[in-house]
Symmetry: none
Subunit: 200 residues, 4 copies
DNA sequence: TATGAATGAGGGTTCATTCAT
DNA sequence: CATGAATGAACCCTCATTCAT
């Protein structure tokens, strides 16, 4: 890789990192392209060599960061000794919620967009080379469960929306209850949902 | 009420209605104060006599419209002959989802904000004189059920977030399934959740 | 007229005058809105209260200045004792050419646009209240000539294009001859053209 | 010619052709250097190896294309059996007008610049090796006419400006009359002009 | 000769907010 | 109370030009 290519890659990285910092601290709307390039130390025009506009870079970041989060959750899961399917889902769920609680900027950024649409995109569009194929992981979990599931995709959809939506309220506003108080409720609800989708 | 007062009230109404039309058709970000006042037929300065800024009017509208929606759902429910608690919840749920599906602009407007925080505000802050006290209605439903519920507020929270979040994806993107396909899934899930919260 | 209205009119005037100065000195392309408002002493946004964009103000200026020029020519003509039709046309022609030679910025500004399209617009769209109805003047001249003309509009069109086009080259570049050298050529050509259109 | 030289010449050609296509389709102002080099398949810096800027390439194109047009007109003329001087001029005039009417992009591009200044440059600056020496052709036509002309250059100047200017309006705007309606007017006017310049 | 990433000034335009009337 | 002209900072984006490779 030549000097130019290195420089080019470094600029891209710097723009991505800077954007992420600003989006998670100031929010998307309050972050201007000027803010980004100034802090990244590149010229304004340079931004447009890499991204179409602010929303382009946002989408790439959301996909990347979401994917990253699930990958970390899955890695943590693989270090545990958990065998039952619903236990695994709950572990991942809690892991992600804790991570988001520890980084409210991130939560705010991927907000209601930790929703199905973005989630699916994140898991299929492999932004970076290291991004996981979460679909494969989920299918694997289903197989290893020893059960047969009805509409497994819908089941996952429901769980993700439920967790994301209630988690957001709990983490951001402690309303109507704190995240810690919410967790047992979610656990019980998730177990019920999984139960519903097991085919006899 | 004098003529001046009437005029004053008419202006307020016109600003609210116009804003709502524009927010639901063009979206919040694309609607400027200029758009609103021009269409409402009042001067720009007048806007600031009634509202602090665009977000002030938005919040009041969300609360009002959400409340209205639930009131309509409840009125429709009262015309039916439904006695069981979970059947009532499902009826209201379906009613609201259908209404939002028929008015995507509205859904988009109150979006992820048909969330707990706003919902609660809507039910307590009584924007207009005709707004319902939904808390009372819910408590009533709980009593009439003949059951005793554990954490009824959390139960409602979970149901609302679940329905709002999955419904949004289904209505707006048909993803991963259509609203009609989603409904049986929601029904079953809601029944499980309610079951979980019944105290033996 | 209230203070506000006076102020408003003064701003409009200032914008028009400033734009004209800049257009005729720097040219249209090199004149930015920023230049205009800065020199006019108004805020940038103010410009957009009065004009759609740079081309809007340009069109209004071209029409106004062209009209003005022809009005001056006609006034000068009426102070002379010229009776023959072609003599009148040649007088006006020379008057306009001399005026443009004395103000190359103006010539450059209305350039090839002292063409039929703009000329006609200028004479019909009465920008200011004082703008002449040149069509009426021309028709008057035709009647007073004692002749009957075939296609008088086309005749005028041909003369104007001829004079404008050759005059531009002579005034701006002295190429292929100077304006003074050109005049007799134009005079002879115009007389021939007029002759051609007299119906026997 | 070596491979490198061939390549070099091919690049120059590609830049010229591409620019011409873009100038005649999108217009000069709306065509950026980026557009040109992208479509020509060369690097941005390469453009500056061949041309000073956008206006440099434009001037060379106008000269080249104008010259080409007159050459074609002259070739067509030589295939006809026209002997009288004014008939020849009118033939060329009509040929050029028809060509421009069939290619409004070209007309728009060389616009008011099919004027004397550019015309003369085109006839002297011999952009390509195949460009005609129109001055020689014109002088030939004068000689073959059997007449002696006063100021033949001015006569040509006047005719070209007249035809170019009125033709532009007719072709582009059909205003005040269509090109077909204009032609007889031009024919008559040109004959009068030629007549004026014949020395007895 | 050729490249194309990088530049950064400058473009036009929008719009929430103010305040003299 | 109501007005709406005026503000001017801030926005996004373009693009001719340079220069290290």
């Amino acid at each position: 890789m030549g000097k130019a290519d290195q420089n080019k890659k470094a600029k891209l990285e710097r723009l991505l990192n800077t954007s992420f910092e600003l989006f998670t601290s100031k929010g998307l709307n309050k972050t201007s392209i000027s803010d980004i390039v100034e802090r990244a130390g590149v010229a304004k025009g340079t931004f447009y060599l890499y991204f179409k506009d602010k929303y382009d870079i946002r989408n790439r970041l959301i996909a990347h960061k979401s994917s990253q989060l699930f990958m970390q959750a899955h890695e943590a899961l693989s270090r545990e000794n958990i065998t039952k399917f619903d236990d695994k889902i709950i572990f991942i769920t809690n892991y992600v919620l804790d991570a988001l609680a520890a980084n409210k900027g991130l939560l705010s950024f991927i907000y209601k967009d930790l929703s199905w649409a973005v989630f699916k995109k994140a898991l299929t569009s492999n932004v970076g080379s290291t991004d996981v194929d979460f679909v494969a992981i989920y299918n694997n979990m289903l197989e290893e469960s020893g059960h047969k599931f009805r509409d497994p995709e819908v089941m996952l959809f429901i769980i993700i929306e439920l967790v994301g939506s209630t988690g957001y309220s709990a983490i951001m506003f402690n309303d109507p209850i704190s995240l810690d108080a919410l967790k047992p409720h979610l656990e019980q609800t998730i177990r019920s949902i999984v139960q519903n989708y097991i085919e006899e």
